[in-house]
C-alpha cells in the first residue's frame, strides 16, 4: 500500500519534494525487504529448540526389531553399500561360522587377560599356557583365573588339568596346575573338581589342593588369594606366617620359616605391594622384622626375625 501511495505521490509532485519522497521510499523499501527476509526465520521456533537433541535411534531400532537400521532404505547408494557390506560379511561368515577353532594362549612374563569366544574372561598368570577348544573347554598349565559366563542352555564349562578336571556353569574361580600340584579357589558360585573317582564340590570362599594323591580343602583365609590377577598384595595386621604364604603364592615361591621360630604368628604386617618383585618385598620385611633368610631354588628359608 505504502509503496503504491508513494509512487502516486512522486508522479503528482516535482522538484525537491520528489527527491525527498524518492529517498523516503527507498528507505522504507529497504526496511520492508529486511522485514520480509526476517519473517520466515521468525516462524521457526528457534527459541524453543534449546535442549533438543538426537537420541540413539539406530540402536533403539535394532533393539526393538532385531534388524539392522538403515535410515533411507530406498537410496541406491545405501543399497550398494549394503551389498558390499553383505558381500564382505558373507565372506567373513565362511570363516566365522565354521566350527570354532581351538586357540592356544600363552602368558610368558606378564599376566594377561583374554576374552574367550563364549564370552568367558580368563586371566593367565606368568608362565601359563591355556588351550581353548573354541567352545566350553580349556586345558590349563600354570595358574588361571576364570570368570565364566553362564550359557542359557546350561552347557558346563570344563577346565582340564593334568590331574583331574573342574566343571562349572558360570562363576569366578582360579585353578593352579603346576608340577602335579592342583589348587582350586572359588570366589563366586559353585564348581566341581573331579579326579579319578573322587569328586569335591567347592562353593564361594572354598579352596582345595591336590598334593600327591591327597586332597585337602579349607575355607579361603586370606584376602590375597587372587592377588596375582591384579598384582596388588595387601596386608592389614596380617600374622606374618599367613603373609609369607600369600607372598609365596603371589610370586610362585615357597617361603618357609625355620622351626625354631615361634613368634611368626605374633608379628603383624600392614603393607601394600603393587608391582614390586619378590626381592623388594623381602627387603621391606628385612627392615620391618629384621628377618634373615637364605635361598635355595624357589625356596626362601627364614632363619630369624624380631617384632
Amino acid at each position: 500500500m505504502k509503496l503504491r501511495d508513494n509512487i502516486r505521490k512522486i508522479n503528482e509532485s516535482d522538484g525537491p519534494e520528489q527527491a525527498r519522497l524518492i529517498e523516503q521510499w527507498k528507505e522504507e523499501a529497504t526496511a520492508n525487504l529486511r522485514e520480509m527476509s526476517k519473517g520466515w526465520e521468525e516462524t521457526l521456533p528457534m527459541d524453543q529448540m534449546q535442549g533438543y537433541k538426537q537420541y540413539a535411534s539406530g540402536a533403539a531400532f535394532e533393539k526393538i526389531t532385531g534388524e539392522s537400521y538403515q535410515k533411507s532404505s530406498f537410496n541406491w547408494k545405501n543399497w550398494a553399500a549394503a551389498a558390499i557390506f553383505l558381500g564382505v560379511f558373507a565372506l567373513a561368515g565362511v570363516f566365522y561360522l565354521q566350527k570354532s577353532s581351538p586357540i592356544h594362549y600363552a602368558a610368558a612374563n606378564k599376566v594377561r587377560t583374554e576374552v574367550l569366544q563364549d564370552g568367558s574372561i580368563v586371566t593367565l598368570d606368568q608362565q601359563t599356557t591355556l588351550d581353548y577348544d573354541g567352545e566350553r573347554g580349556v586345558n590349563v598349565n600354570g595358574r588361571a583365573f576364570f570368570k565364566v559366563t553362564k550359557k542359557t542352555d546350561k552347557t558346563p564349562f570344563t577346565v582340564n588339568l593334568n590331574k583331574g578336571k573342574v566343571t562349572v556353569l558360570g562363576t569366578r574361580f582360579s585353578v593352579t596346575s603346576i608340577e602335579g600340584i592342583i589348587e582350586v579357589a572359588v570366589e563366586e558360585g559353585k564348581v566341581k573338581y573331579e579326579y579319578g573317582d573322587r569328586e569335591v564340590i567347592l562353593k564361594a570362599g572354598d579352596w582345595m589342593k591336590l598334593s600327591g594323591e591327597d586332597i585337602v580343602s579349607s575355607p579361603i583365609l586370606t584376602q590375597n588369594q587372587f592377588s596375582w590377577t591384579n598384582q596388588v598384595l595387601e596386608f592389614k595386621n596380617t600374622p606374618l606366617d599367613q603373609a609369607l604364604l600369600d607372598i609365596g603364592r603371589h610370586y610362585h615361591q615357597e617361603l618357609v620359616i625355620s622351626k625354631e621360630i615361634k613368634t611368626a604368628a605374633k608379628c603383624l604386617l600392614t603393607s601394600k605391594f603393587g608391582g614390586e618383585n619378590i626381592e623388594q618385598v623381602m627387603d621391606e620385611l628385612k627392615i620391618l622384622f629384621q628377618i634373615q633368610y637364605y635361598k635355595t631354588g624357589n625356596r626362601y628359608v627364614i632363619t630369624s626375625m624380631k617384632c
Binding site: 521456533p45 524453543q48 529448540m49 534449546q50 535411534s57 533403539a60
Partner: protein
C-alpha cells in the same frame, strides 16, 4: 491391515526422535524419555500382525507416549512439584504440540546437515543462546563472519525443510 515392516520403519524414522524430545522436554521425563518411546514402538512391533492399521499415526504415537509418561509418573509416585510446592499439571495432548515437535525435528535434522563451520556457529547462536560477539571471540573470527554464516544457515535450513 496389519503394520508391515516398511511402515514400521517409516513411522520409526519419522517420529522416534521427535517423540523422545517431546517426552523429555514437554513431559519432563528426562531420564525415562527413551524408555517410554521404546516401549511404545516395541508394542507396535510386537503386535504388528494383529494391530489394525494406525489411521492417524501422529496422534496415536504422541498420545501413547503421553499416557506412558503419566503411567510412569504414577508408578514412581512422582508428582511434579514446583519449588513453592505447587502442583504442575502435565499438559494434555494437543495436535499443535505434536506439530511443533515434528517441525523441531525437521529443523534439527536440517541443522545436522549443515556444513561444519556453519553448523557450529548456528548451534552456538540459536541452541546455546550465545551472542554473535561471544561466538566471534570464541572461534577467533569476525562478527561479520558469524552473521554471514547464520544467514547462510537459515537459507540452507529453509531449503532442506522445503524439500522434506
Amino acid at each position: 491391515m496389519p503394520v508391515d515392516k516398511e511402515t514400521f520403519r517409516y513411522l520409526f524414522n519419522t517420529y522416534y526422535n521427535a517423540l523422545c524430545n517431546y517426552a523429555c522436554l514437554s513431559l519432563g521425563m528426562s531420564n525415562d524419555a527413551e524408555d517410554i518411546v521404546m516401549e511404545v514402538f516395541a508394542h507396535i512391533w510386537d503386535k504388528r500382525d494383529v494391530l489394525q492399521e494406525i489411521e492417524n499415526p501422529k496422534a496415536y504415537l504422541f498420545r501413547s507416549v503421553h499416557h506412558k509418561a503419566l503411567e510412569k509418573m504414577r508408578a514412581k509416585k512422582l508428582v511434579i512439584v514446583a519449588l513453592e510446592g505447587e502442583k504442575i499439571v502435565v499438559p494434555d495432548y494437543k495436535e499443535e504440540i505434536a506439530d511443533d515437535y515434528l517441525l523441531k525435528e525437521k529443523i534439527f535434522q536440517s541443522i545436522r546437515q549443515l556444513p561444519t563451520q556453519c553448523r557450529v556457529i548456528f548451534v552456538k547462536s540459536k541452541l546455546e543462546g550465545m551472542s554473535h560477539k561471544e561466538i566471534a571471540h570464541e572461534l577467533q573470527i569476525a562478527v561479520k563472519t558469524v552473521e554471514n554464516q547464520i544467514t547462510k544457515a537459515f537459507k540452507l535450513i529453509r531449503k532442506q525443510i522445503d524439500t522434506i
